[in-house]
């Protein structure tokens, strides 16, 4: 009925802008991340080495016919790398003409241009150029600084050259910290997911039936999820503060505890003979609190889609409510729970802000994402940071693969 080719063509034109922007901002950076992880790039290397030129007038009280000395200072911005094919241009005043200028430079139509083959690292030299004031020289209109000298040069850019090494991976895998961080990340993602799912299921079961004020509660339950992470994280940090915080003071006033608890600063607590990661536990609680609304929404939607006759039939057979929950409701929810588990696990695995804002990665809560940030900006090493990011990517891929193999399939999809 319709021309298929025409339709496909239209579809491609409609999709191309979307695909290209996603490609540019998402897929290309992923590739860039892999690229960077094989290069030893420091934060400082992001600025490519370039020539720095400054000029300075050395002569004062100039009369027409006098000699004028202008000092040019040439410098290589990099301490480590040479630059090549340096071209410098500077507009000079029309009131002066060159007398003695450095080798490699020439003046043409009031334009000084110089060419140098190579400046070594740390190259820094002052060269005095001698000019002569013309007869029409006017001191008021003479300003050698009115145009800034410009320089362009080629440099070996570490970001784009083809030198690769595995040193970044060696470095991060040799750190004891990395293995510890992987463990923390898994614990955190797994238990925060479980926590969010448990809270979500209970909340959904609460609001399953229609009652007065259901809409209000449904809106209320979504608050933690829609509020900005920075606001809720700061509020919880404030509540849990050991000295100024509400919780510690409340517990102290009621004599439940005799001294303040450092909720966000206790790496290990001895609990029945083994080390319990206390702060990690608190962070997991926060995470469950913040993300249960999503699980709640999904499970509620699925709950309301369960056919009512299943319950009616089991009622006639004399099943109790608890039996109904375990034999009807839970199996029906299994698909959506499995989907939510994988989604939440991946998103928790990728989460950076929450932990960063709560603890900054201290007290045994440094996940891999926080490590990426620390490597990049605290240790100024972009290379190792991206190799940690690659590690995240690979671990995620493995996890998704395993989940695909063993997870129950959603009936709907």
């Amino acid at each position: 009925m319709f021309n298929l080719n025409k339709e496909a063509k239209l579809a491609y034109t409609m999709l191309i802008p979307t695909i290209s922007i996603v490609f540019l901002i998402i897929l290309f950076p992923i590739f860039g991340n892999f690229w960077l992880s094989f290069k030893e790039v420091k934060l400082g290397d992001l600025r490519a080495p370039q020539p720095i030129i400054k000029e300075k007038l050395k002569t004062k009280d100039i009369e027409p016919g006098d000699d004028i000395l202008i000092e040019y200072r040439f410098k290589n911005s990099s301490q480590k790398k040479p630059i090549f094919n340096i071209e410098i241009t500077d507009k000079i005043s029309e009131f002066i003409s060159p007398v003695e200028i450095a080798e490699g430079c020439s003046v043409n139509n009031n334009l000084l241009s110089c060419y140098f083959e190579e400046w070594k690292p740390k190259y820094n030299e002052k060269i005095i150029f001698k000019f002569k004031a013309n007869d029409n020289f006017e001191i008021d209109n003479f300003n050698p600084k009115e145009s800034k000298p410009r320089g362009v040069a080629d440099a070996d850019n570490i970001l784009t050259n083809l030198k690769f090494s595995l040193k970044n991976f060696q470095k991060i895998l040799q750190k004891n910290e990395t293995i510890e961080n992987i463990k923390v990340t898994f614990l955190y993602s797994f238990f925060a997911t479980i926590g969010a799912l448990l809270l979500g299921i209970s909340a959904a079961l609460l609001l399953e039936k229609n009652f007065l004020g259901k809409g209000f509660f449904r809106g209320l339950f979504l608050f933690p999820f829609v509020s900005p992470v920075i606001a809720v994280a700061f509020t919880w940090v404030y509540i849990l503060d050991p000295f100024k915080g509400f919780l510690n003071n409340y517990l102290l006033n009621n004599e439940f505890i005799s001294e303040p608890i450092f909720f966000l600063g206790l790496k290990k607590v001895d609990f029945l003979g083994f080390d319990f990661p206390f702060t990690l536990f608190i962070v997991i609680l926060f995470e469950s609190w913040r993300y249960f609304p999503l699980a709640f929404l999904f499970i509620l939607a699925r709950l309301q889609a369960i056919p009512k006759d299943l319950y009616e039939a089991s009622d006639i057979d004399g099943a109790t409510r608890i039996q109904q929950f375990f034999y009807i409701t839970l199996p029906q929810l299994l698909g959506v729970i499995s989907l939510l588990f994988i989604l939440r696990f991946i998103w928790n695995f990728n989460k950076f802000e929450d932990i960063f804002l709560l603890t900054g990665g201290n007290a045994g809560t440094r996940t891999l994402t926080v490590q990426v940030y620390d490597e990049a900006f605290a240790l100024s090493n972009m290379g190792t940071a991206s190799s940690v990011a690659v590690l995240i990517f690979i671990l995620l891929a493995i996890f998704v693969f395993i989940h695909q193999k063993i997870a129950p399939k959603d009936i709907e999809e």
Binding site: F2, M14, I25, L46, P228, F393, V400
Partner: protein, 401 residues
Amino acid sequence: MTNNIYQFFFIYLYSIITLFLLAVIGDFVSISIFLSKNIFIYKNIFLYCFLYAICFFAIRIIITNQVSNIFIFIISLALSYFFLINKEINAYQLLIILSVFIAFNLLLQKYFTAKNFSNFLFEVSFLKFLKTNSLIFFSFIIIFPFYLMFVSSLKSQMVLLQNPTDLSIPFFYSISDFFSSYIAVITQYNFLNFALNSTIVSFVTVFVSLFFSIPGAYAVARLRFAGRSKISSSILIIYMVPAIVLVIPLYVIFSQLGFRNSLFSLMIVYPATTIPVALYMLQGYFKGIPYELEESALIDGCSRIGVILRITLPLSVPAILSVSLYVFMIAWNEFLFAFMFLDNQEYFTIPRGLYTQLDDQEVPRQYLMAGSVMITVPVLLLFFIFERYLVGGLTAGSVKG
């Protein structure tokens, strides 16, 4: 009969827990609204609940008719009087406990008046308690942080330090004192500028993201072309890409291109990260629109573009609204990219500004809380107005958070 004793015991235990929980909530309400300091002693509340439950249990076992209500009423009065006189419990808490107890009593009625205590009745009443308790518990853990954020932002530094457990709203302040933290945040910390930046970035993100995702979503939902299924499944995979994997290379690339430290960089990145979400939500909705409508327009000689503009878009206003809201919220709340990219104060968005300017031990906490309230209120307002659309949209396409 032994089964019944267990059930009795269970209900009895449960009533203590319920009362205790309610007493704690009552304590929070009283320190927040009435008294502004807690004179609450857990030992006494627990004792009160315990005695109350014992009386209740005993009377119910002995007498199972209407007279028992009067008995319970008299005993509860006596108990309350005793606790009040000894100042072991305050009047407000008592009021809250008692009023809840009446409701509690009515619920139990059914269970105790039934001639044989069937498992069914036991379960029903047990689940009812559980539901009530959980509803209170959930509401409490959600409302409490937001309430504390709001109340702390109104306090003065001195009050906050002297009595951190005071949750009352200081109504006796003059208007300027009441909002002093807000005024300070706006005048001293350049907050309006941050808000303006955030607003600009968020609106641009919404428009760009809609502009790209509407045609894309329509193509995926309606048009037949090679690779369609691949595209719709790869949208989901793009959801999973960690932002932290993008941020380092984007930092490097944007630094090289020279527009890292600008709002423009955010206006590129935010739409790119929200387009897949928007596309997924929209295509789900587009698929739900009856195709016959579009088909008949096509047969009548309307072009595809005409169909989209005249039929599909007007029909999907709710979906577009919910997508816009969702994208707006993502852009407004976003922290990671703003944190990494922006250096100059003049370009800060609110989350970035809050982090650098107000999260400092030197800055009084009430300023931080005032800033937090100011970033949260617009989002929650929008959310409450458009909640219905948003909830539908969120579940229509699985959504990232």
